[in-house]
Amino acid sequence: MATEYEAVIGLEVHTELKTKSKIFCSCPTTFGGESNTHVCPVCLGLPGVLPVLNRNVVACAIKAGLALNCDIAEFSKFDRKNYYYPDLPKNFQITQYDLPICYGGYLEIRVKGEKKRIGITRIHMEEDAGKLVHQGETISRSEHTSVDYNRTGVPLLEIVSAPDLRTSEEARLYLEKLKAILEYLDISDFKMEEGSLRCDANISIRPKGSIELGTRTEIKNMNSFRALQRALEYEIQRHIKTLADGKKIIQETRTWDEGKGVTLSLRSKEEAHDYRYFPEPDLPPLVIDRAWVAELRQQQPELPDARQARFIRDYGIPDYDAQILTNSRALADYYEAVCQLYPNPKIISNWVMGELLRCLNAEGLEIIEAKVSPQHLADMLKLMDQGTISGKIAKTVFEEMFRTGQDPARIVKEKNLVQITDEAAIAEIVNQVIQTNPKVVEDYKNGTEKAFGFLVGQVMKQTRGKASPALVNRLLKERIESMA
């Protein structure tokens, strides 16, 4: 019988912080702008300049640490990581090596309904590098390469998990939870696809039940949640197959090739850089004031788990709904805004999780980009309650609101979507449908329930969906019965 394996996965996540200025100078961190315009002598690493730490970066790191249940170091420091690359103006990166600002935390994910705690080994601060723009594919195969230092010195947090993840799905859930927490803290946008988030994974496998660790590989270049899951799945299978073939896993760094759907060897352990870390002499050690930490703890906003529990308690919605709605702070805010305006939380949840998310996903939009406001959604739900529109028409109205941002009453009026509640008008159409479909009417009379649905459909079709469904049902039944 083949050995059953389990994977041991740890993730290293780098995420850009949303501070106004860079970590060691006062240049703006805003995206865009002409190349090399958000730069100054300090972030360009000109001779003679010195870094000065942005206090807000430290505050962000502490907030993240507190939210991830970490200890906040009383004494921390910065170090230099030395390597040569033209996107690095000083040819060293200021980072934190052996005394990170936060350590020893965890976050909880829900795997198949069960809570699972994933350890956070450490969180540290560092500076981002610039961006190379090659004329060809790579720096060695390009006629020339340009470099843009606008991103140089943008603050990053590196969050390192313990090797507690066992499947690619757990890895994705971990990353989603991390994203939600950082978003709630309002310290990072965590946009993986835009490169404001980078994720590397350490992975090994071992026979299920074993406590020894197998040889690990490091995977880089996973640029989306989907890529993360695919790459890990591929790598787990590659490890299993390698062992099954009687070969050995080689400790190395590999890169995920999204197009080919494979991981490829980047460099072996022997080729690994010696970064010659040493304490950054231009920055004094960080002594973190306990009162400041207490103050930041006090200011901590409600986090996803707490909000989920509150949604279940206060709005009486199911676990599942509460989890989806609180996954993103913006979505949860949206939901609560509608709840202020409309009294039935479950109906709101159905619409937000249903139509709204479907439309957003289809367009690839974020909730904050949605044109349909909480007020409009609430108004639309009220129009349904008042019988002005049917549930079916409401979907049309919603799509129109989503597309144009107009208020529902106006859409209903302009598009002439008001529900027909005039009994005489509907009765006429009902009579007509009965007359033109005698065979179906007969089937219904003989007990074929499906036939009734067809007749309802015909009436709705003729009224372009505007007939009150309740009225149509009643009139159809009355007429057919009176025929007998």
């Binding site: 002598p41 360009l44 690493g45 000109l46 001779p47 003679g48 300049v49 010195l50 870094p51 000065v52 730490l53 230099r80 030395n82 040569y84 033209p86 103006p89 000083k90 040819n91 060293f92 720096i139 060695s140 390469t145 470099v147 010696d274 010659r276 870390y277 040493f278 002499p281 231009d282 920055l283 004094p284």
Partner: protein
């Protein structure tokens, strides 16, 4: 009357205040002196006479303005900066071929402060390349000569700064001191040189050699000038996180010719083997002079002194190997035109741009930080550094001041110390002071073989005032600082 270029800051200040001379006249005397002697001394890398004339006019206007408020004693005084301090629009080469064309787009804090004080910059001064050396022979361009004997070195690395002041080309200069680079050339050239406490003066704009040791300070004709310049340059700078938020006193208030009751320690390790007997004689006389002024001198010990030199050459070179990594030809400075790819460009640029001593120290530092060697070298050096600090802490529990020769010998001849280790030993008395971050001053205290000898005084952190007091009292009781070099050959 003497030529104006021969005077001190405080003498000129009196003349300027009373309207007897103008900044333009002082500048003219300095520029003609430079014209006359610079081809022998070679203290400068860059001269900025046009900029200086403009600044002299501005200083004139400033001094004449009735609303000028409290007047800076440096207003209208010609000076020069070591070429490792960034000056906007003026070449800042660190005496290195790799920065032969680097014109900073910004002013460092020193350039800024001196401008705010209306001092007049006449140029940028020669040095050992990236401040690595003790003789200025490591300049990537040419060596500077010692005004007391043109066949001898001025000391280093701030050799240009000391020589320019000694040769009366400028009234004062700024240098930087990582292991003795202000005090040693001050001693060799017979001028006053102060290395302030680490953090006393901003390093923003100072091209780093070894960040945790580098400190800027003045080189002047006498102790009073030293206090005046320190007043202008000291203080916390929000652009330098290692600069100390410690209030700056008026250092001239310490200038009292009195040492009564001051307790002075003489560390025996600084008088050990290698000390030139002629220098020893001069130094012993200086110690007796201090006693005559009322100081209580006692022999003491700094037991870890012998480990200071090796610790320094690990810590300084480790930091340098990283600080100098940015010179790769990508953004500024020299770029090799023989390379076809990025790695070759890095390698060729650095091979062509750096001199021998810089390469030696980069390699040494890279090695000290390498995985597998870090603990044995760099980490051990840090521990030694702590022990050396503790030696000083203990000594300062008993003494207000420690005194020693600044260097074990007088200025040597060009090419005399070809063995780098022999050269390194020149700094045995000054290096521990940088490792401990303490203030140290070198003042003229006599002559040996016709060359100046420097007396070093070391103080507690931020006790520059005590140093200046003792140095002033000694200076006022002697006339070594009034001796003038002949700019000849001995």
């Amino acid at each position: 009357m003497a030529n104006l270029n021969q005077l001190t800051v405080h003498a000129l200040q009196d003349l300027l205040r009373s309207g007897q001379v103008s900044p333009g006249e002082i500048l003219t005397d300095c520029l003609s002196r430079i014209e006359q002697v610079e081809n022998k001394v070679k203290a400068f890398i860059t001269l900025t006479p046009e900029l200086a004339k403009l600044q002299a006019e501005q200083a004139q206007a400033f001094l004449a303005a009735p609303s000028a408020g409290p007047q800076s004693p440096l207003a209208g005084i010609p000076m020069a900066l070591k070429d490792n301090m960034c000056t906007k629009g003026v070449l800042t080469s660190c005496a290195s071929k790799i920065l032969h064309n680097f014109i900073p787009p910004y002013d460092g804090t020193m350039a800024e402060k001196l401008q705010q004080n209306h001092a007049i910059m006449v140029g940028k001064l020669n040095m050992d390349e990236f401040a690595m050396g003790s003789s200025t022979e490591n300049s990537g361009f040419y060596p500077t000569a010692n005004p007391w004997d043109l066949n001898r070195v001025p000391g280093g690395s701030s050799g240009g700064s000391a020589a320019a002041v000694a040769a009366e080309e400028v009234i004062f200069a700024l240098g930087s001191d990582t292991g003795g680079s202000i005090r040693l050339p001050a001693a060799f050239c017979g001028v006053v040189g102060l290395k302030p406490t680490y953090g006393r003066v901003s390093r923003y704009g100072l091209v780093s050699y070894a960040s945790s040791l580098d400190q800027i300070g003045p080189l002047t004709r006498d102790v009073t000038d030293c206090a005046l310049v320190l007043n202008a340059i000291a203080g916390h700078d929000p652009r330098d996180a290692t600069s100390a938020p410690v209030a700056v006193p008026d250092y001239t208030t310490f200038l009292k010719p009195d040492l009564k009751g001051m307790k002075v320690g003489i560390p025996r390790e600084y008088l050990g083997a290698g000390l030139d007997p002629a220098v020893a004689t001069v130094i012993q006389k200086a110690f007796r002079q201090l006693e005559e002024l009322g100081a209580i001198c006692e022999e003491t010990s700094l037991p870890h002194t012998e480990y200071a030199l090796p610790a320094y050459y690990l810590i300084a070179t480790a930091e340098a190997s990283s600080n100098l990594a940015r010179y790769d030809g990508v953004r500024y400075g020299h770029r090799s035109d023989t390379a076809d790819d990025i790695i070759t460009m890095f390698n060729q640029t650095r091979a062509e741009g750096f001199g021998q001593e810089v390469k030696r120290r980069i390699m040494l530092g890279t090695y000290a930080l390498s995985s597998g060697y870090y603990d044995a070298y760099y980490l051990k050096a840090l521990k030694v550094r702590t022990l050396i600090k503790q030696d000083f802490d203990r000594a300062f529990e008993q003494y207000d001041l420690l005194v020693s020769p600044t260097a074990p010998n007088v200025a040597f001849k060009f090419g005399e110390k070809e063995d780098p280790l022999a050269m390194y030993l020149t700094d045995v008395c000054t290096i521990p002071v940088n490792l401990a971050g303490l203030p140290g001053i070198s003042i003229p205290c006599g002559f040996a073989q016709g060359m100046p000898v420097g007396l070093q005084m070391i103080g507690r952190p931020f006790a520059e005032g005590t140093l200046l007091q003792a140095a002033y009292a000694y200076e006022q009781s002697t006339d070594w600082h009034r001796q003038k070099p002949e700019l000849g050959v001995r």
